[in-house]
Amino acid sequence: MNDRFAAIAAGARERRDASRSSGRPRIALCLDTSSRARGGEATLAALREAVAARGLDVEIATTGSWGFCWLEPTVSVRSAAGSRTVLYHSLTPDRVEEFLRAVIVEAGEFPELALGVVEGPATDRIGLLRDHPFMRGQVRRLMANCGRIDPASIDDALANRAYEGFVTALDMEPAAIIELMLESGLGGRGGGGFPAGRKWDFLRNATADPRYLVCNADEGDPGAWVNRILMEGDPHLIVEGMLIAALATHAVEGYVYIRHEYPLAIERMNEAVRQARERGLLGEDILGSGKTFDLVVFTGAGSYVCGEETGLINSIDGYRGMPRIRPPFPAQAGLWNLPTNVNNVETYANAPLILREGAAWWSSVSDDDAKGTKMFTFSGAVNQSGCVEIPFGLSVRELLERYGGGVPGGVPLKGYQPGGPLSGILPAAEADLPLTLAPFRERGMFLGSGGIVFFDETASVVDLCTYFLGFAEDESCGRCTTCFQGTQRAVEILRRIASGGGRETDLDKLGDLIQTMIWSNCLHGQFAPTTVKLALREFRSEFETLIREKRDPTRSLPGMIAYEITNPTAPALAGAAAVCPTAAIVADGAGHAIVDELCIRCDACREVAPEAIAIRDRFA
């Protein structure tokens, strides 16, 4: 063990133990982006104010996410004795007073909002957190520190084993590190699943210097926020992962490319890099080893194709973020045309665990072909929108039922999208597929980076296709005609179908486009039509009903419906007329009428007067 590191880690543990044995209780509020969106900052302010007003002797800290995103703000309370910690949820400012009275003043607990006991024995009223239905079956390795540590404190990270894997790697030859990575079977977590060890080996064998590492934290897939959870919850894990990769590849500088939509992740990563530098874990002569490596946190500016590794490289280089034509591959000519390795956040984050615990331990978590654990977020038609870490192999349906809490309102599931706007959609009948790489690959799609979007029977598949193709059109870099014109043409056809103007030949036209777009340079154009391709296969009748019968079974497409007043004298219609953005509801004799030409089908009126307004088929 490296002496300098031993001293640094011992210091951090001492400070942690001092806080623990101080006799002061500790309240730790999750304040990630999801918590902020749910009023976390107001809760923190209320906590601070109440603690000050009552003169309570309490340590107040903030943490990253436990994954209970739909129940934020979550708060853990450690007892004054330091031996018992309980996690609570949904702490709104109006509950802070009674909460503090229970957990601090009376040194008791608050079962009403309890999720579980993090540390210490269960009681009659509060079970162990690990037995909570949302936690059962999860294997928290990458997320081991998320929610538990203050992500702005390197001491907290060090006291929880940060950088131990890197210190292990310091005593190893680059080839041995890569051997270990290969042995673990770690595949790239950005969606491709390419063995990380092999990618590192390409860079190790590069012939030019200096060489670079890039961490792809662009996480542009709407509905995916696993990387955000890690960066906001345990940023040092990513710094450490990149340090290990640097040792294995002789890279001297790394870039963490984070999308600008993640300001808190940017702040956390910057803080982590600054602190790591301060402790001698980044920079020159790291821990006295003679090794040099430093990190730059680089902010994106709003471009989905910058998540494609060569687009990202162009973006850092200072050009439009257009994906390059390959070869050469980044390992030969990446940043500034020098050898570069690009991995996803979650890929780098696994390296410290492999180095610290060994490849056998790391890969033994399941017998699936894809090794290790994977983080998933889920949204859309779910009761619980959150983040989990599980071994590969759980079925999509189990993820939905066990962690997503099922579909709201008992509406049947219609389908799901496994991994981003390019990955395609599958019907509910395919929800028994295991969450791993092979079954999706076999279907011409991919599992993606971990964001699963569920949709129920009320959703129109044609609308989803229009949305995802429209997204791909917006984000096309403009290099390939097949992509920028292909997406545009597909959206035109889809819009036509969705508004009652579909033609018998349209489905064949879409088929032609899908074939043509395969010839695009990068994955963006190649996979942009996947949603349409699968929708035509799995949900073809929905297109046909729209084209042949001019009818939308979901009655959700604005071009296929009309609004009508069913009870012209209902008093609620005055409110409906007032809310209508286009003044389409007008006085008509003693009652009200809708001017169809003005109506934009936004549904605001029906929200206000559901008893007096109905939707009908426009072409009936």
Binding site: R38, Y262, G318, Y319, T377, C602, A604
Partner: protein, 159 residues
């Protein structure tokens, strides 16, 4: 919003940036953070500093959705375009907001009072459908609530 920065101010702000060091985006972000937008004059000053052409700088500015080329509005509604929002009526909310504000997506009123912008999912999907009003999440929206919000913003921005 301050008057358009002078060339001298702009040159001072970008003085530390170099080409071929990955500085174009950081410099543009710094300019926008400081002045709220990247003016033509700023692009010229930056091009000179980096030893490149204004066309290359403009190429980047126009490529990335986050850069503005005119001063930002006083109030702004950013509409989340993500799938969770879409599945809960997000597109109807967009339609209603556009008509209430009288603005297309990524448009702003001529007097700079209010703007309407497309935003990308940041994974706060439990709040769907949502918008960000001046950076703050307004979640769990109904269409009617979105219309009320837009009217309030227009009144506020006008005064």
């Amino acid at each position: 919003m301050a008057a358009e920065p002078t060339t001298r101010e702009l040159r001072a702000l970008v003085a530390g940036y170099e080409f071929d060091r990955g500085h174009l985006l950081p410099a543009l972000i710094a300019i926008q953070e400081r002045y709220g937008y990247v003016s033509r004059r700023a692009m010229e000053a930056l091009a000179r500093q980096l030893g490149t052409t204004p066309a290359l700088v403009y190429g980047a500015v126009s490529f990335y959705a986050d850069f503005r080329t005119e001063p930002p509005p006083r109030r702004e509604i950013v509409w989340c375009s993500g799938p969770a929002c879409r599945l809960r009526g997000g597109d109807r909310i967009r339609e209603a907001l556009q008509h209430t504000l009288g603005l297309p997506l990524d448009g702003q009123s001529a007097d700079g009072a209010c703007g309407f912008r497309l935003g990308q999912c940041n994974g706060t999907c439990s709040e769907a459908p949502q918008v960000w009003l001046d950076g703050e999440v307004v979640g769990g929206l109904t269409v009617a609530a979105a219309v009320a919000l837009a009217r309030e913003v227009m009144e506020d921005g006008a005064s």
